[in-house]
């Protein structure tokens, strides 16, 4: 050992890929990551929130806010479920494309044109035709608009191999400005705010106005799970996603599969837009979707593109969001701080996947253990 030249040090550790990990260990790592994230959040909160510095004993309230935000009152709980349903619906819509390794980042725009289309139908036809017919026409318009928004990038990708990530992303801006344009046309006052429609409202089941939406999305989850795992279409999506070469080798028409799947993905985004437009807002603005089209990407990825798992991941993200809102209310903080807290926890959750897939080995320690 004495012959080693200065500077010739052995590396301290190295990373190796795990081949298999028991499920409980993987979940252990994930839960640990959430705990660590919470801990770091606590420290950050203590450093930045004045009210917490003055009364450190309120740190318990800080953590309790996450539960209070989602389950505090019955109204909050239903809102929690409704928000999950909308987020989940968009995530489900993106999933067939993701399974095909088609990185559809245009969920926001596809959903927004869905909202726009159904409100447009409502705006022009509302009151002139029977309500059920109006609702059906609104639905058709939403599905068509979403599908069209998904179709354009799909055709270009299938025919000329364009990059779908950029294309779908750009389509979001087109959608946003299209909404802005129609608001100019529709709102004569120039305020840019479209008053709620009097017609074209989805019926309420029982006494709760959210129940129907929740049930629709739940049914969609099951249907999509079956579609992706047990149908020929779903199988084709998986094969094309994994390797276009394999698909061609067995005579699948990969272009057809890409276009068909994106039509579906866009149409389902359109459905989410319909649920927002006809089920909740009865109006449209450039913020109707509010970034959920992007959050949905994370919901789908975190669930490893498994529709059933997405119920969990969308729930988790919604829990964090409402918790953050509760914190800003309880501790009188505004602006970006609640988002920082959500960001920290998500960072830990996503980062934990690295430790699920890789192992860190410390060389020194191992050597000593051998001796």
């Amino acid at each position: 050992m004495s012959d080693k030249r200065p500077g010739e040090r052995e590396p301290l550790f190295h990373l190796s890929r795990r081949h298999a990990i028991p499920w409980w260990q993987a979940w252990g790592i994930r839960v640990l990551a959430i705990f660590l994230g919470m801990l770091v959040c606590g420290v950050v909160a203590f450093l930045l929130i004045e009210k917490l510095q003055q009364r450190p004993e309120r740190i318990g309230d800080f953590y309790y806010a996450f539960i209070k935000g989602a389950f505090g009152t019955q109204r909050k709980f239903w809102k929690f479920l409704k928000n999950i349903a909308i987020l989940l619906c968009i995530a489900l819509a993106l999933t067939p494309a993701f399974r095909m390794h088609f990185w559809n980042t245009g969920g926001e725009g596809q959903t927004l044109v869905g909202v726009l289309a159904c409100i447009a139908v409502d705006f022009y036809l509302g009151g002139t035709i029977p309500e059920p017919l109006l609702l059906v026409l609104m639905l058709a318009a939403s599905l068509l608009a979403g599908a069209l928004w998904g179709l354009l990038p799909a055709i270009c990708r299938a025919q000329w191999g364009t990059n779908e990530t950029l294309f779908t992303l750009m389509m979001n801006y087109v959608a946003t400005y299209l909404v802005a344009f129609f608001l100019e046309v529709w709102v004569k006052s120039g305020s840019g705010v479209l008053p709620q429609m009097k017609t074209g409202k989805l019926p309420t089941l029982g006494s709760n106005s959210y129940l129907l939406i929740i049930l629709i999305v739940l049914a969609l989850t099951v249907c999509l799970y079956i579609y992706l795992n047990y149908t020929k279409h779903g199988y084709e999506i998986s094969v094309v996603g994994e390797s276009v070469k394999t698909a061609r080798y067995v005579g699948m028409n990969d272009k057809k599969v890409i276009i068909r799947t994106m039509l579906l993905s866009g149409a389902l985004c359109g459905l989410a837009g319909y649920l927002i437009g006809a089920g909740l807002d009865l109006s449209v603005s450039t913020q109707s979707v509010g970034g959920q089209g992007f959050t949905a990407i994370m919901v789908s990825w975190l669930a490893n593109f498994n529709p059933l798992m997405m119920i969990l991941t969308s729930g988790l993200i919604q829990l964090l969001n409402q918790g953050a809102a509760q914190i800003s209310q309880d501790f009188d903080v505004s602006g970006a701080l609640p988002n920082v807290i959500v960001g920290i926890i998500l960072f830990f959750i996503i980062g934990s996947e690295f430790f699920v897939n890789y192992r860190i080995q410390f060389i020194r320690k191992e050597k000593e253990a051998v001796k």
């Binding site: 050992m1 012959d3 080693k4 010739e8 040090r9 052995e10 590396p11 190295h14 190796s16 890929r17 795990r18 081949h19 298999a20 047990y230 149908t231 020929k232 279409h233 779903g234 199988y235 998986s238 094969v239 994994e242 390797s243 070469k245 394999t246 061609r248 080798y249 067995v250 005579g251 699948m252 028409n253 192992r359 080995q361 060389i363 191992e366 050597k367 051998v370």
Partner: protein, 574 residues
């Protein structure tokens, strides 16, 4: 040599080298000595850890445990740069050269030397080294103008230029013709006589016996033995490598009644980049025969199979499939009802009495019943043109053309799917509803796992996690389960261990005996000569000869493999 051995000095020692990848132990406490002035062959099956071991000497991996000593002093090699400082150079299987640079420019690339950059001096120095060891290389030639063998020479010169005393060559002969191998070996011997230590990684026994002084054998990550080449035999080496005795003979039966099955005439293919990759290819593959295809990698073998399989559209030429169906009953096993109807309209059938069969005005159920009674016979052999048909159309014609592509996990199989889902690739369209039927594929998967002795934790394990041999068995098993009439296999034993290779040879032989026309693209000429009935040799997208495998020699095939290249060179010089 006997006396010389006593004077030999140790160049490098490895002590207790261990490397793990996850739960896999790639190298388990390997001790290995390398002397000055020797050629040491590192022999072992794929996956035995020989490349991993060499990568640790070359600074690409770092050992988990153990020490490396150079000239008796312990060293730490953390990067290829460290390795060069200790005068170790590795020539990788995949060359790492800049195409647009000349040989000399590639050779000095990355050397940080003081003083001015003088290419003339470099050229002179390269020429000097070339001369010393007997390389033929023009230092001013660009890489893109070079053959594979010349590129390899540049790689070797690169490490010699850096003053390497220990050279590691990873499978250097895999891409060379027999003639080029002979030339390489003579260069290696000269370097040895100059006092260099040469480590050559290989799994080809005849080469080991030809060129090395000693052989180190690795098995499952362990160093099982080192033997003097002069005192060993092919049988002993195999036994050490595999751990048990193995019969190295491939049985070859004589073809029974070979009938033309697939006829290719004047086939031309132009790649999307506008290069002519296949030129006037003509041959016939017979049922009950194995037709080998030999050639240097990239001579058009892959494109030829792709074109036959319907994956590429030929510019011109014919691909004709002959189905010896005359007076044989029609079955729904090969033909859909729709196809049978079409053929009926085209007057293709007669019944057992010789009357023409017409399905005019019959219901589907009636046609089905009639065909299933076995009373509907083909009038003539079926002759079908496969040109401009995609794989699905070929299948819908009822032609059972199986294809084991070179790229197993990227083309033949879906790596992330399990065995059952991979079995379905060919047959998932069966059944009219939109739902998948996994019952039959699962049974099929169970069957091939059992029959081909595939070792897998379960049927739900992604095929990506299986070993190379098992992956190949899944692929070949699926293609055979499809009861082919023509079976094309591209490099089906590449990367497989000896046992798996022989299992694949047996499967191909079995198919041949069933009357299948087998087309086998191979790289090991010994195997091609032992397994095939005829061998078609390709070079530069052309057929340079079709020889009888029972009569031909390796040298003869080697000449054909480089034939047109030389003629073109001569033409260019004139």
């Amino acid at each position: 040599m006997g006396d010389g051995k006593l004077e030999k000095q140790l160049a490098m020692q490895m002590r207790g080298i261990t490397k793990r990848f996850g739960p896999i132990l790639a190298n388990d406490h390997v001790d290995l000595d390398v002397y000055r002035g020797e050629i040491l062959a590192v022999l072992g099956e794929n996956g035995c850890g020989k490349t991993t071991l060499m990568n640790m000497i070359a600074g690409i991996y770092f050992p988990d445990e153990g020490h490396i000593l150079i000239d008796g002093k312990e060293v730490v090699i953390r990067s290829p740069k460290d390795a060069f400082e200790h005068k170790i150079g590795m020539i990788h299987q995949h060359f790492k050269l800049v195409d647009l640079f000349t040989a000399a420019e590639n050779i000095v690339l990355g050397i940080e030397e003081k003083g001015e950059y003088n290419l003339k001096k470099v050229n002179a120095r390269v020429a000097e080294i070339s001369q010393k060891y007997g390389f033929h290389l023009d230092p001013t030639k660009k890489i893109y103008d070079m053959s594979v063998s010349e590129k390899q020479t540049v790689e070797i010169l690169k490490v010699l230029y850096r003053g390497a005393d220990i050279l590691i060559l990873d499978e250097p002969t895999a891409v060379l013709t027999p003639q080029e191998i002979t030339r390489l070996f003579s260069v290696l011997r000269r370097m040895r006589d100059d006092g260099k230590s040469i480590l050559i990684i290989t799994h080809k026994l005849n080469e080991v016996l030809e060129v090395s002084d000693r052989v180190a054998i690795l098995r499952k990550g362990e160093h099982v033995a080192t033997v003097n080449t002069a005192e060993t035999s092919e049988a002993e080496l195999t036994e050490l490598m595999v751990g048990k005795k193995i019969d190295l003979n491939i049985s070859r039966s004589d073809p029974v009644n070979p009938q033309p099955r697939l006829i290719v005439r004047d086939l031309n293919l132009v790649s999307p980049e506008g290069l002519q990759v296949l030129r006037d290819i003509s041959f016939t593959a017979n049922g009950g025969e194995i037709l080998g295809i030999a050639g240097i990698a990239g001579s058009g073998q892959r494109e030829l199979l792709d074109t036959i399989a319907g994956l590429q559209k030929p510019a011109s030429g014919e691909i004709v499939f002959h189905n010896p169906k005359k007076d044989k009953p029609v079955t729904f096993f090969h033909k859909s009802l729709k196809r049978v109807r079409e053929l009926g309209k085209a007057h293709a059938f007669h019944d057992r009495k010789g009357n023409e069969v017409s399905f005019e005005g019959m219901k589907r159920r009636q046609i089905r019943k009639w065909v299933e009674s076995g009373d509907v016979l083909f009038k003539e052999d079926e002759v079908m043109d496969l040109r401009n048909k995609n794989p699905l159309e070929i299948r819908q014609l009822g032609i059972h053309l199986s294809f084991v592509p070179e790229d197993r996990l990227g083309m033949g199989l879906v790596a992330s799917m399990n065995i059952t889902d991979n079995m379905m690739l060919r047959s998932y369209r069966k059944g009219s509803a939109g739902m998948l039927n996994r019952k039959h594929p699962r049974e099929q998967a169970e069957e091939i796992v059992r029959d081909l002795e595939i070792s897998t934790p379960s049927l739900t394990t992604p095929v990506r996690k299986l070993s190379g041999g098992n992956v190949q068995k899944v692929l070949v098993g699926r293609e055979i389960a499809f009861t082919p009439k023509v079976l094309m296999a591209a490099y089906p034993v590449r990367g497989l261990d000896i046992n798996s290779s022989y299992a694949i040879y047996n499967l191909l032989n079995h198919q041949k005996e069933q009357g299948v026309a087998v087309i086998f693209v191979g790289e090991d000429l010994d195997v091609l000569l032992a397994l095939c009935d005829r061998i078609l040799v390709m070079n530069g997208g052309k057929v340079t000869g079709i020889v009888d495998a029972r009569m031909a020699t390796k040298e003869e095939i080697g000449l054909l493999m480089t034939k047109s290249e030389r003629r073109e060179e001569r033409a260019a010089n004139e």
